[in-house]
Amino acid sequence: MKKKIVLHFSKAIWDKPIIYRLIKKFDLVVNIQKANVLPKQESFMVLELDGDNGVITKGLDFLIECGVRIDPIEQRIKRDEDRCTHCGACTAICPTGSLYIKDRSTMEVVFDSQLCSGCELCVPVCPPHAMEIHIY
C-alpha cells in the first residue's frame, strides 16, 4: 500500500542521513515529492511510502525514534469546503490529478489528498481561496 506523509526535521537532525537508513533498513519504496532541507533550519519533506503495511508502520516508528515529527498529509493540506464553489479552475493546474472532476453529471470537484504532493500551485489559482496548505 501507499502512504503519504509530511516529515518535519528539527535543527538538530537536519543533516542526518535518515531517509537513506529508512530505505536501507526497511526496503520501502520512497518517493520524495517535495522537500525543503536547509542547514540548521526547521526542514520538511513530503514523502510517499510504498510497501507492506506492517513494514510502513515499522518505518514510521523508526522515523519517530530518529526525532522526526510526522503528520499525515491530510492534516497539512485542506480544502475549505465552505469556500469551494466547485468551479473547476484548479483542475487546470493540479499536476498530480488530486483535484479533479470525477462525476461528469454532478460536475463536483473532488480533492483527493492522498494524490496531492503539496506543490501549492492550486493555492493562488483557486479563485475563492479554498485551498490551505500548511507544509513548512
Binding site: R83, T85, H86, G88, A89, A92, R104, M107, E108, P127
Partner: protein, 390 residues
C-alpha cells in the same frame, strides 16, 4: 384560435403559483420533458422553467449610501476595507466595483499578481455580516464642512446598499486556449502553453439566456434570483449584442446578449456572492443568478428544451488572437463535449476546465424552483423587452 396551441399569460401562471398548483421544473428537467412529450404537451404541463448560473462576473458592484456624519461631509475619496470606491456621486453615495483591488495591491508588479482582496470581497464580507472599515476624505464645503472620518460599518448600518451589475449572465462565451509557449494568466483562468487546457465559463443547459435566446420573456422588470436574494433585470447589459450568429433553437454561438441587473444587498447571501482572485488578472466576484422562464406557449417550451450538445461555443487563442483582436476563431465545440472533460482541436485532445460552477448553477435553479412552488416568488411581466433580432 391564436398563433399557438397553448397560450398562457403571466397573470394566469401567477394565479397557479399562488394556489400552489404551478408546475415548475428546472431547465435540465425540461430537456427530458420536451424530448419525451413534445413541445405542445410540455407547454401545457409546465408553467415555469427555472435557470441558474454562477460564475465570475466582473461587471458587478454595489451602490452604497453610507449615511451622514456630524458635521456633514461631501466625500471625495472613499475606501472600503482599503478598496477604493468611486465617490463622484452625491455627498455620501459611492459605487464599489468588484474588479477594484485594494489601493496598495502590488497588482502585476510581482507577476502573476495574486489580487488577494477587492471590491467583490468587500461585498461578500458585508453580506456575510462582517464589519468593514470605511475611510472617507473630503475637501470641505460650506454646507458639508467635515474633512473626513474613519468608521466600522456592517451591512445593516448602510441606509442603502444595492447590488448594481451593469453586465451579468453573458449569453454564451468563448472557450479560451493558449497556442503560445508559456503559461498565461487570463480572466479565463490559467491557460497552459501549447493547447494543454481549454477553459470555458457557462452553465450551458441551465444558463438563463440560452433558455430565452430571443428575450421573448426577459426584459425590464423581470424578477430574478440574484446573489441568494431577489433582484430585477433593469435593462440590457454592456456589450449586449442583439444580432449574433445563431445555431440550434436560436441560441447564439458567440458571446451575445447580456443583462443589467440590480437587487437589495440586504437579503443576499455570501453563498451566492463570492469574492474572487483571478491569478495574474485581477479581482472579481462570482454572482449567482437565476431567471424563471414562463412557458407562455409551445415556442417557449421549444426554447427551454435546449440541451448541452445543441449549444455551440467558439474556441479562441488567448496568447495572441484575443489580446491582439485578430478576430480569429480556432474552431467550435459544444457544451456536452466541454463538460465531458476533453475536446478535440486539430486532432489534439485537450483537457477542458470550467470556471463557472455547474454545482452552484444547479443549486440556484433548484432553489428558485422551490421558492416558486411554495408561492414565495411571483413572476413579473417585463415592461419593455430587450433588443433582439433573428
Amino acid at each position: 384560435m391564436g398563433k399557438y396551441q397553448v397560450e398562457k399569460s403571466i397573470a394566469e401562471i401567477n394565479e397557479k403559483i399562488k394556489s400552489g398548483k404551478a408546475v415548475v421544473v428546472t431547465a435540465e428537467e425540461m430537456v427530458k420533458i420536451v424530448k419525451s412529450e413534445g413541445e405542445v404537451k410540455a407547454a401545457k404541463k409546465v408553467d415555469v422553467v427555472t435557470t441558474g448560473t454562477f460564475g465570475p462576473m466582473c461587471s458587478s458592484g454595489a451602490i452604497f449610501n453610507f449615511g451622514h456624519s456630524t458635521p456633514k461631509i461631501k466625500a471625495s475619496k472613499v475606501l472600503m476595507n482599503d478598496v477604493p470606491a468611486y465617490a463622484g456621486l452625491a455627498a455620501v453615495d459611492v459605487f464599489l466595483g468588484v474588479a477594484e483591488s485594494t489601493f496598495d495591491d502590488p497588482l502585476n508588479k510581482i507577476y502573476p499578481g495574486k489580487f488577494s482582496y477587492g471590491g467583490g470581497h468587500v461585498i461578500e464580507d458585508l453580506v456575510a455580516g462582517k464589519e468593514i472599515e470605511l475611510v472617507t476624505e473630503a475637501y470641505g464645503t460650506d454646507c458639508y464642512p467635515h474633512k473626513g472620518f474613519k468608521k466600522s460599518m456592517r451591512l445593516e448600518d448602510f441606509p442603502y446598499a444595492m447590488l448594481t451589475n451593469p453586465r451579468n449572465a453573458y449569453q454564451n462565451y468563448n472557450v479560451g486556449v493558449n497556442l503560445g509557449d508559456k503559461t498565461i494568466y487570463t480572466y479565463m483562468g490559467v491557460l497552459r502553453p501549447k493547447l494543454q487546457n481549454a477553459n470555458y465559463s457557462s452553465a450551458g443547459v441551465l444558463a438563463p439566456l440560452f433558455n430565452d435566446p430571443y428575450f421573448k420573456t426577459i426584459g425590464l422588470g423581470t424578477r430574478i434570483f440574484l446573489g441568494g436574494g431577489v433582484g430585477y433585470v433593469t435593462w440590457y447589459g454592456t456589450q449586449h449584442n442583439p444580432k449574433p450568429v445563431r445555431g440550434d433553437k436560436g441560441v447564439p454561438s458567440v458571446p451575445a446578449g447580456t443583462l443589467s441587473v440590480m437587487g437589495e444587498l440586504k437579503g443576499m447571501s455570501p453563498k451566492y456572492l463570492v469574492g474572487l482572485s483571478l491569478l495574474g488578472y485581477g479581482c472579481s466576484m462570482a454572482v449567482g443568478l437565476g431567471i424563471p422562464i414562463p412557458i407562455l406557449n409551445e415556442e417557449m417550451a421549444h426554447h427551454t428544451s435546449i440541451a448541452d450538445e445543441e449549444i455551440i461555443a467558439q474556441i479562441v487563442d488567448y496568447s495572441e488572437d484575443y489580446p491582439q483582436a485578430t478576430g480569429k476563431v480556432l474552431g467550435t465545440t459544444n457544451y456536452a463535449a466541454l463538460k465531458s472533460g476533453t475536446i478535440v482541436l486539430d486532432g489534439k485532445e485537450i483537457q477542458t476546465v470550467p470556471l463557472s460552477s455547474f454545482v452552484k448553477a444547479r443549486e440556484i435553479a433548484e432553489l428558485l424552483k422551490g421558492w416558486i412552488e411554495k408561492g414565495d416568488f411571483l413572476l413579473t411581466e417585463s415592461q419593455v423587452l430587450l433588443p433582439s433580432e433573428k
